[in-house]
Structures are given as structure tokens and as C-alpha cells.
């Protein structure tokens, strides 16, 4: 036995020598990725923050967010759009028979919260900068704060009943996320609390941002414009009118002239742009772009409802945003041509100046300033059709006229359903190709379900009634 042990130990030296020569250094297993950086490495300078801020805009381009579904879905649920016979994308929502397992509520929820997390990464980075760089830092953080507010506003509109659904707005809202916590399982806030947070974020954003203006980025005027819309949804007429006035009087953005209006859409740069999500010939959603849901060259899943088309005068330039592609479809020849790019590089508007005039028109009408209201609505009406008869109505008729003008001006931009909801009205489709043509108010199905994936992963999450 001893002999073997001796032999073994003698030769055991050899592999040890080999282990030493073959053995790799301590960092052999410490491999770093080539396409990403550790969080600490990536959040050191203002330049880093600028890069991360563009990450938020990148997420706004997502085809489940402003890139397509967040705009498309409320429209297909409304009376402005009807399904083409071959429609399959979003058809469950057009037909009001979707469920919590469907990919659309899941993806919108997921992608918008991802946008929020990206914004929070910028907001919470907390970089110390010299006083000379404060302005730039404030601008970056301000943009991120306004985007965070807007994303929560988007979520609360699509996953919760509107502001005013209950008297005290205690009905279910959504979680308002301000910090990243990988273990978070947040409960839903009330709609009241969500709006309080939105207002606070927007106020802070407006305070921080400078006057520099870029219509393809969040900016001070855009934050004010969105704030005007939030106040309108809250029926806070005075604040809505004040904020609209600030936007209009700032003079930063002016209305696109009549003759340039249609061309602006055709060229993919929305008219009156205060804030639009930019796409270009490389950075676009291709076949998943919003416009390709409408055009013949794309999926062509959805068509304009005559309920809407028939409201538009033939001399109104906006009638040119429809295209007759000849017979071939089951449900008519007209197509939506507002986002006409075949490759999907049209910019998608978030907020435009014309909306701000119409917000102020409604707010003024509600406040009793009908002259002011008529003046505002006629700015938009006559811009689109200089030959139109100016609106001279008052009372409910004036409100209806403003609503009609707003419906036409903002068609296919994802507003109609929420305009109806906040006015506590149902959807009544006359030119209807869906299985369901009348959806009375109030209705549990005007909002999307919380995705099942969220319910499964978050013990504090409560499903919307009716799902």
C-alpha cells in the first residue's frame, strides 16, 4: 500500500504543475458584456442622463404605445373607426369582447410602465453638477418628470374609469410609480390620487424646464398643454382655460396655415405640433406603424366610419385626409390617410396647438364666456375651411359644435373615446361593421382589464370590474 501512495504522491506533482500553467487568472470568469454597462457606470454624468432620457423617448415610439396601439385601441373602441373585414389586430377591443389574457392590455401596460421606469432612472440618478450645469440638469429632469406624468395620465385613462366617474374620484386608478423597486407589488391608487400626482409632476416639470423648444421632445409648452388637457378632464375649467391661454400666448408654436395643413400630415410632421413622437426612415415601426393599420399598403385593418366622414364638409381640407382606394373592400372604399407613410415614418402627435384652442373653447363655454369660446372654435374651424360658416351658436349647441370640431380635428389621434367617457356618453355606431354597435354609458368595458400577468405577479393588484 505504501508503495502506491508513494508513487501517487510522486506523480501528483505533475498535474499540479499543469494546473498552475493551465489555470486561468482570477478574472477568467469575470466577463463583462459588450453591449451594456452596469447601472453605476451608466449614470455618472449629464451626458449619461441625456442618453437615458432619449431611452424614454425611444420607449414612447414603441408600437404598443404612441407608436400604434395606445392610439389605435381607443379609436377602434369608438365610433370614428370601423373594422375592415380582414381585421385581426385589436379586433377584440373593437368588439368589446377582449379579456385579461389578451396581448394588447398586457403590452400597453408593460411598455408604458417601462417608459415610466426609464424616466425614473433619469429622475432619480441624482448627479451632483456645478452651478453652471444646473440649467441643463433641470431641463433633463424636467422632461423626464413631464414624461412620467404623461405616461401615468395615459395609463389612468385606458385602465381606469374617467375622472368624475365617482363623486369623490375614489374609484380604482393605477399605481403611480416614482422609484424602481424590483420587489414592488403596488396596489392601485384612487383616481384622485393619481391625478394629484400627475399635477404635482407637471408643475415641477414646468418649473424646471427652460424655454428651449423642440417639438420632437417634451418641452415646457408641451407640459403646459398636457396640463391644460388634464384640467379639462378634471372639469377644472378655470385652470384649463388659464393653462391654454399660457400656451397660446407664449407664441412658441403657431397654427399651421390652411394651405400647409394637409401637406404637413403627408410629410409626416403633424401640423400645430407642440410635442410629437419622431420617426424617421431608419427608426420606425415598419409594418407595425400606426398608419399601416389603415392604409392599403399596410394591414388595412381599419376604415373610417361614415359617422365621422359625413361630418366633414367637402371643402374642408381635412376631407383630404381620406383616400378613395376604389372598390375592393367589404365595407367601403375610403381609407384613413392621416398617417400615409408606407414605411411607417410619420411622426405621431402627442399634443397639438389646435387641441389647446378647442380645450379653451370648451372651458370658456363652461365658464360662461361664450364669445371667447366661439372665437376659439372658429379659429380651428376656419383654418380648416376658410369658406365655412363661423359658429354662432350658444348653450348646449355651442358645446356640441365644439365637440364636433374637436372630433374632426383630432380624429385618429386616440381622443374620441375619452372625450365621450368624460362627458358620460356611450358609443353609438351607425356605420357599424362590428358585432356590437351600441355601447351605453356607464360601461365596465370602456376600459381595458389589468393584464392577467400583472394580477398573477402582484398580490395587491385588483382587476377592473367586469373582467
Amino acid at each position: 500500500m505504501m508503495r502506491y501512495i508513494f508513487t501517487l504522491s510522486r506523480y501528483a506533482l505533475l498535474p499540479i504543475v499543469f494546473l498552475l500553467t493551465n489555470s486561468c487568472g482570477k478574472d477568467f470568469l469575470d466577463l463583462k458584456p459588450y453591449e451594456s454597462l452596469a447601472v453605476e457606470e451608466a449614470t455618472k454624468t449629464l451626458d449619461d442622463l441625456d442618453v437615458l432620457l432619449r431611452g424614454v423617448y425611444d420607449q414612447y415610439q414603441n408600437s404598443d404605445y404612441y407608436g400604434r396601439y395606445f392610439i389605435l385601441v381607443p379609436d377602434v373602441m369608438s365610433d370614428d373607426v370601423k373594422q375592415n373585414a380582414s381585421a385581426n389586430r385589436a379586433k377584440e377591443w373593437a368588439e368589446y369582447n377582449g379579456n385579461a389574457l389578451d396581448f394588447i392590455p398586457e403590452e400597453i401596460w408593460t411598455e408604458v410602465y417601462e417608459a415610466i421606469n426609464r424616466a425614473n432612472t433619469v429622475i432619480n440618478a441624482n448627479i451632483a453638477v456645478p452651478p453652471t450645469a444646473e440649467t441643463r440638469k433641470n431641463q433633463i429632469v424636467g422632461e423626464a418628470l413631464a414624461l412620467r406624468a404623461l405616461s401615468h395620465f395615459d395609463l389612468v385613462r385606458i385602465y381606469a374609469q374617467h375622472y368624475g366617474y365617482t363623486d369623490d374620484n375614489s374609484h380604482l386608478g393605477i399605481p403611480y410609480v416614482k422609484e424602481f423597486d424590483q420587489n414592488a407589488e403596488p396596489a392601485r391608487m384612487s383616481v384622485r390620487e393619481v391625478y394629484d400626482n400627475i399635477l404635482a409632476d407637471l408643475d415641477e416639470a414646468i418649473r424646471l424646464m427652460s424655454d428651449e423648444f423642440d417639438a420632437n421632445r417634451m418641452n415646457k409648452i408641451a407640459a403646459q398643454a398636457i396640463l391644460a388637457r388634464v384640467y379639462l378632464y378634471m372639469s377644472d375649467w378655470q385652470n384649463a382655460a388659464n393653462m391654454a391661454t399660457q400656451v397660446i400666448e407664449s407664441g412658441v408654436v403657431s397654427l399651421t396655415p390652411t394651405e400647409a395643413y394637409v401637406d404637413a400630415w403627408r410629410s409626416g410632421t403633424p401640423p400645430d405640433g407642440i410635442f410629437s413622437i419622431a420617426f424617421d426612415d431608419i427608426d420606425n415601426n415598419g409594418s407595425n406603424a400606426l398608419g399601416r393599420m389603415y392604409i392599403v399598403e399596410g394591414y388595412g385593418d381599419y376604415l373610417p366610419a361614415l359617422d365621422l366622414v359625413n361630418l366633414i364638409d367637402s371643402s374642408d381640407v381635412r376631407i383630404q385626409l381620406f383616400k378613395n382606394t376604389g372598390p375592393g373592400g367589404l365595407f367601403g372604399d375610403l381609407r384613413v390617410d392621416k398617417f400615409p407613410s408606407v414605411i411607417g415614418d410619420d411622426d405621431i402627435p402627442v399634443v397639438r396647438l389646435s387641441e389647446i384652442y378647442l380645450i379653451r373653447a370648451e372651458a370658456r363655454a363652461m365658464l360662461g364666456d361664450e364669445d371667447g369660446a366661439r372665437a376659439d372654435v372658429n379659429v380651428i374651424r376656419l383654418r380648416a375651411n376658410p369658406n365655412a360658416t363661423p359658429i354662432t351658436s350658444s348653450g348646449q349647441q355651442l358645446l356640441d359644435d365644439i365637440e364636433r370640431e374637436k372630433r374632426i380635428e383630432l380624429m385618429f389621434e386616440g381622443h374620441r373615446l375619452w372625450e365621450l367617457m368624460r362627458k358620460k356618453r356611450g358609443v353609438y355606431r351607425n356605420d357599424c361593421t362590428s358585432v356590437i354597435c351600441e355601447i351605453p354609458y356607464p360601461n365596465d368595458r370602456f376600459i381595458l382589464p389589468i393584464p392577467q400577468a400583472e394580477i398573477d405577479a402582484n398580490r395587491n393588484m385588483v382587476q377592473n370590474p367586469g373582467y
Binding site: 500500500m1 506523480y11 498535474p15 499543469f18 494546473l19 493551465n22 489555470s23 477568467f28 470568469l29 463583462k32 458584456p33 453591449e35 451594456s36 454597462l37 452596469a38 447601472v39 457606470e41 451608466a42 442618453v51 437615458l52 432620457l53 432619449r54 431611452g55 424614454v56 423617448y57 425611444d58 420607449q59 375592415n84 380582414s86 385581426n88 369582447n97 398586457e106 408593460t110 410602465y113 417601462e114 421606469n117 426609464r118 425614473n120 432612472t121 410609480v177 424590483q182 403596488p186 424617421d280 431608419i282 392599403v296 399598403e297 382606394t325 372598390p327 375592393g328 367589404l330 365595407f331 408606407v342 361593421t433 358585432v435 393584464p451 400577468a453 400583472e454 398573477d456 405577479a457 402582484n458
Partner: protein, 1028 residues
Amino acid sequence: MKRVLYKVPLLMYLLLCSSWALAQFTVHGKVTSTDGEPLIGATVLLKGTQLGTVTDLDGTFTLEVPTDRGTLVISYTGYETREIEISPQNKEIEVILQFASEALSEVVVVDVGYGTARKEALTGAVTQIRAEKLEQVPFSSFEQTLQGNIAGLQAVMGNGQPGANVSIRIRGQGSISASSEPLYVIDGVPVVSGNLTVNAETSNPLASLNPNDIESVSVLKDAAATAIYGSRGANGVILITTKSGKAGKPKIDVRTMYGFNDWAIPKSKRLRGLSALEYADLYIEGYVNRGRTVEEAIQLFNNDFPDPITGLPAVDITPDGQGGWTLGEVRVDTRWVDEISRIGATQSIDMSVSGGNDLMRYYASGSYFYQQAPIIYSDLERYSSRLNADISPSDRLTITNNFNLSRTQQHGMNDATRWANPMYNSYLLPPTVPIYDAEGNFYAGHRTIMGANNPVGSLSGDDEQTWTQWRIMDNISASYELLKNLAFKSAWSFDFINYQEFYYRNPRYGDGRNVGGLATETQRNILTWIGTQTLRYEFALGGKHHYDLLAGYEATKTSMRTVYAYGQNFPSPQLRLLASASSPQETFSSLSEYAFESMFFRANYNYDYKYYLSASVRRDGSSRFGINNRYGTFWSIGASWRVDQESFLSDSELITALKLRASYGVSGNAGIGNYVHLRTISYSGIDYLSQPGGAPTQIGNSDLTWEKSKSYNIGLDFTILNSLSGTVEYFNRLSDDLLLNVPVSRTTGFRSITKNFGSMRNQGVELTLDYSIVDRPGLRWSIGGNITFLKNRITRLDKPFTADTHDSKRREEGRDYESYYLFDWAGVDPDTGAPLWYTDSTRTETTSNIAEAQRFFTGQTATPKFFGGFNTNFNWKGLSIDAQFTTSWDNWIYDATAWVIQGDGRFTPRSQTNLVLRRWRQPGDMTDVPKFAWGNTSGSNQRGSTRWLHDGTHIRLRNLTIAWRLSQDMLAHIGGVRSARVYLRGTNLWTWTREKDLYLDPETNFSGIVNSPVPNMKTISFGLDLGF
């Protein structure tokens, strides 16, 4: 080496002894194997004496014996020993030794990883199949041969594309989020496996290996066998040993094969597209059911479907004035599915030469393999060459180099519900769309319907999708015997894959139509190097204590670099390279690496070849895990008892072999992404206004560590009456600390975090039996088979989640991993033609409104209750018949494209499959296909419904081969030919399915999801093998 060393003294002894004997009678003979190869060094002994000799380099021997009567005992390692009577009439003898059938043999040497072991010494579960099963099979890669041949192993190719990736599960699905694929080791080198593609469907790196170059494949199944591969052994290990040369004069083998491929699904069962008349009928009916008049419908039809030659409608339709219509002349009638189908060819030619001497042995081969799918364009072509050489400059030193170069090129197409998938759009394109336009170009006039796709044109050269793989593997090792039976081995290996993908879409129709044509080009280089140092010592103490010890160190690193470019707007369809593309163009590159570092030990001990003990331990570190938990230790112990060696059984005629085995061990799984443990900001694909952007894309987890597989195995090997042999095994495999993508609240901005959480159990029983019905010279007939009963359960999962499997599955604790979670289809309302679903799992109420129906676990799963294969082998003189059946029971399959191609009109005006012909038309119709209406709003085609679920239970005749081997006499007449064999082989010739009208191929990938892939093949091939 050991064998040779052992032979030398024997030879000396025999030579010495025989020279002393008084020569009275001389016997001459030749010993060959069944395939006609001379056996060099076979032992020839006169029974009852010590007289004997060994055969020389030609397999011949001369033996002088004292009398002219007696019995010669001829034996050779790995072959069955034979006894031959000698007499004055029988002194020129030819002996053919049968290869020892594995289960029966006691001298089979099995590759066990870092060395070999005799089969009887194994304590773990290892199954080996040898060259003769792998050679000349009309499959593009060897893994396809494993299906049905090895208990506990499932091998499937979910796509009939030649060269498609083959998925393997050894004893069930082992992981949820991490890989469940086994580790592949070629000649001791863990190699890159799994799908290589960037944008193409599927490309298998193992298709680069010529199956004819393989000597044996060992499948390691339990922990005792796999723990030596530690962190990568949890899903089993497949060891491939390539052929090496044996000393002797050069042997040349030439093998050729030619075959024909058709769909495996017989024409009577497979779905077909509609005829023009059927479609025209459906078209009008679909509009009438939508409230249009017949006249309006006809007008729409005429507008949609002009005949390009005459300008007249594709089909004349006239209203009969009473709400009906009649069909007239047909001008266009394209059967798209038939047009893209073909009888493909399989062709192979393979040549090898091997031989050598004491100093050097070599095996060299070159081969060409070409296979066409039964769908036009889809094919694979492979050139490969190999040189394996062993050089022994001294008795103590052996240097081995195995070198393999191959080029594999595939043409193919996309799958799934994409317009670019011909297997999908050929059903949807109306037969009233022509193939050609008036100028003879492929027709593209249907731009407003169905993206103007033309699958025939696309697959006839208008489009292109080519992927090419170059692979170089080199493995050089040196083994030095420091002391007798103490060997040090140093092995260094390089595996280099260059993978290229080219994709082109023409500007006239299909995906390239809006951008003036488009092309993408991808280059991917994968380089792996591995260094392995081992020390092995075998020794015996006191005569009965036998030890075999192994220690080793291994380090490996793999890097993958990808470059991708995209361009569009081409000046001419003849110019397809990106040089000719105009702007915009896109480029992309990436680099990803991983490394492992390991030390391992193994000890085998036996007492008197009766009681065996084995133990192994391996410590692994991996770059894939968090800094806190980077290293893991894996181990196993095993024991076996050869009961047949006990005195009470040694004389038994009934039980000739009996062995009990048991093992337990822990192995690991590291089959996740390379940097999952890091919390990172990523920049890839994130930008805005042409400026870079960044975003948190991964939560990270610095505690991330190995997934563990803890498995028990109990086995029994037996042979009864020398004719029935078998193995029974029970296994219980618990995958714990799963590398799980644990869902997180989406409000975090993430979908999941990878954690070590949850567990899953696979348990089951494997049974393998072989029975020799007749076994005498000239006539042999045996049957055999294996069956595996498998039960999979997710045993711990806090939060259930819906799997990304086309809305069909949900993972939940206590259930099978592949459990379906669906709306339950209740048929068609005979009164209205409306679809019906059960409202909930009680199945008491039905509804025709999908919003009122709930999904639930329907009780079906994609995991079979049992699977296996059985075979029979008949040999009469030179004639042999082999048949092999494979089977699988209670595996359910889900047709993921049916909701479109059987959409009841949902997608106007897409055509449908022939199933629509049995649609509901009038009250009282009893059918399972609802009313047809364009723009169908009934929701009848709802995804995730049991309407699309099918029973995959089947028995398939996987292989039927009739072969004839020329006898030595005949060969002697030909001269110069060592062996010759001709054969006719049928693959997947016949399939029985329990679901009578099943239109899908029942062999699917493990998820059971069928997504309009290239169909599986039925092949008839014939071949000629010649040896010189």
C-alpha cells in the same frame, strides 16, 4: 492500449508453447466480422488445451494441432465467441464473428466521459448505440436516429427543413426558463449546439457532422453518469466518438445512397387548398351571409380576380335570380399547396479509408450529402471531411489529432403566421390568383389582398434565403503513460463556426414590395477553445480490489460575434448584394462570451468484479453567475452488484446475467444567457432622433447560481436463458433552484427577474427488452424495444404564469409543464351555425359568446404518458430485414395557425383549407365547422381553443430496411472487394394515429405547438456500400 499490452505476453506465450507441440495436423483459417472486415489479433484456441494463436493482419491464422479432431474457440473483444469443430474435412475454415449485441455482451466498452468503461462496470444509466445504426441513414444529422432507439430519450425535429435543429429531452423537461437540452460532447469536447440562426428559422450546428464518421453515441442519463460534467450535466450528456483507424492494411469504404422524399403525412390526410370552383362558391356564400346580394358579391369577385391573359373573371359566376348562383368557366385554378410541393431527393456519397500500424493509425473520410424537402427550394447540402490520426512514437506516448472540416448550406423559408411562410400563405391564397401574369412573370397583381405574395415565385428564385455554416473542429491530445496504468493526458480543442445568413425579398411582391426590395446579410463567428488535463490511474490491490481513479482540470471559453447589415431599394432584381442597395441601410454588431473553469475527480472501485462503487465530484465556476455564487460543486455516488458473479448463480442456466444498480447525485444547469446576473443599462436598438439612447433592460441578480438536478436511479440489467435480455430503470429527477424567469409586477418596468426559484420533478420507468428468437449460424431473428413512462410535475412555483405558447398554456404548481389552458370548444349550434364553447370547467353550459366563456386546464398536455420504440431484426445468410417503430401516447398537439387558415371567413378574402367544405350551411346541419361569412364576427376562430387541439398519439414505422450482403464466395469471384451490401430503406413509411383524420404530423416539438413548418419527410432510399 491496454488490450494490446495484454495481448503481447499472450502471443509470446502461445508462440512459445505451440512451438513445443508436436505438429501433426494443420488448420488454416480466416476470421472476419459480419461486415467482411478481417479481424486482426483474434484469439484462436484449441478447446481444453493451451494451444493457440492469434490472427495476423489479414485476419488469417495457421494452427498446428496434435490430432485431426477437436474444437477451436475463436474470440475477439467486442464480438461473440464461436466454437468450430475441426476435422480432416474441415481444416480450411472461415469464421465470421458476430458483433456482440450490446445488452448481452460483457465486453462492450462504453464512452463515459474522460475515458471509457466496460459496460458491466457501470453503476449509472448509460445507453450506447453504435455505428451500424447511424450509418447511411437519410437524415441530415445523427440525433434524428436516436428517436425510439434509447429509452428515456426523446428526439424531435419540429420542422421538416433539412438541417433543422433537433431538440432532445433526456428523461423529460428539466427546466422552465433555462435550457433543457443535453450537453453534446464530440471526442471529449463539449461543443456548440442549439439553434444558430439570427433571422432564419432553424439551423443545427450538429448537422455539420457526417453521421457516417461516428463510431458510437453514448447517452448518459442519470447523475452517476453525468455528474462528471457537473454544471452542464443536468439535462443528460450525449457523447459522440468518431471513428479511428486500427492497425492493418488500408481499408477503403465507399457508400452511396439515393432517395426520394415526400410529405410524411399521406395525401389523403393532409390539408389541401381549395379548387377555384370551391373557392368561388365560398366567396359568394361568404358575402351573402354578410348581407350582400349575389350580384354585389359577383362584382367584388370579378374585381378581385381577373384572369391576366383574357382580362375576364377567373371564374364565371352568374346569379340564378332566386338568391342562388351558378358557376361557369374556370380560367384560373391554382393549387398553391401542390405547386410548392415536390418529391425531393436525398443523395449521399461517402468515402473513407482507415488503417495504420503500431506507430500510426488513421481514419480519413470525405462526404457529400444533399437533401431536398418535399417543398420546393427547401434543401440542405453538406460537404465534410475528417482526418483522425493516432501516433505512438513510443509505447508510452500517444498523440491524437481529430480534424473535421465541413460546409453546410441550407435554403429555406419562414414559418408561422407570416406572409413570407409559403406553408401558410399557400392555403390562404385563393386558387383564383394566377401564378403568372400575361408577360410570364410571377403574378403580383393582387397587391391589395394578401400582400401580393406569390409563394411559387418566391421559392423559384425571386426571393432568396440561404444560410451557410462552415465548421472546423480540431482536437489534439497527448497521452503519456507515466507508470504502468498511470496516464496523463492533455487535450486541446478548437471549435470554430462561421455562420452566414442571406435574405433577399424582391421589389415586386411580398415583404420587399414597399421598399424596392430588401436584403439582409448576417455573419456570425463562434469560437470555442477547451483545455482539459487529466490523470488516470488504474491499479489493483491484493488481486481483488480494483481501482480506477481520474482527476482533471478543464477551462473553456466561447465567444460569439455577430455582424448584421440591412439594405433596401435595389436597382435591379439581379443585384442582390448590399453593395447595390441604396439608403437607408442599417448595420449592427454584437459580441458575447462565456467561460467555465472546472476541476473534477472520479473514483471507481470494484471488489472481485462483483461489487462496484463509483463516486465523482466536480467543482465548476461560470461567468454566467453572480459574483456571490459563481462556483458550484456537483457530485454523485453509485453502486452495483453483479449478482450473476455470485456462486449461487454462476452455474444457473436460467439467469445468465443479473446486475443491480443504484445511484444518487447532483448535477447542474447553466443554460441561461451570458450576462443575466448583471444589472445593466443597455443601448442596443435604443435611440431617438438619430442620437443614442439607453435604458435599464435587466434587473440582474448577483446571487444567481446553478440550477441543480438531484436524481435517483435504480436499475436492473438481466439476461435470461441467454436469449432475453433487458434493463428496467426507475428514475426520479428533481430540478431544484430552477433558473427561473420569475414574473415581477410589470409596474417595475420589467417582466421578470431570473432567480433560483421553484422546482420540477420528472419521474418514470424505462424498460428495454431484447429477445433473440433464433440465433444460429446463417439465421438470426430478434425483436426488441424500449418504453418510457414519464410523469412531469411543477412542484414549486409561487406565481402561475401564462406561457408564450400561442395563448395555449399556463404553468402552475402541481401540473405538468406542458398543460394546456384553453377555451373549451363545444362544437357548432346545428340551428344557427354559431360556434359554441363551454362556459367553464364544469362543461355544463355552452355559449356562443366567447366573452362568456372561461379558459381552464382542459386536462391535456403535450407531454406523452409514454413513448418508445420497438424493432425487429431478421438475418438469413446475407439477407437482412430491419424494422423500427416509434410511438408516443397522449401527447396533445396544438395547431397554432388554424385560427387563420381555418378562420371561417374572418380574413376576407383569404382562402381556407378543405375543412371548410364541411361548414354549416342550413339549420339542422350537424358539423364541427361553423357558418362561413366574410369578416366573420362570431369569434369562432378564437385562438387558444380546444378546437385546434389534436391527439398526437401515434405509431410510426420509422425505418424499414431490406439489405443484402454479398457472401465471401461471391466477393471472391468479383475480386478486390472486401465487402458489398445493397439495401432499400423506407423512413416514416407508415403512421397510425389514434385521431383518425389527423391532418398534422404527430411528431412535433416538445411544446406540441405546430406553426405551419416545412412538413416532415417520408423517404425511400437505396444504397450500395462497398469495402475494398
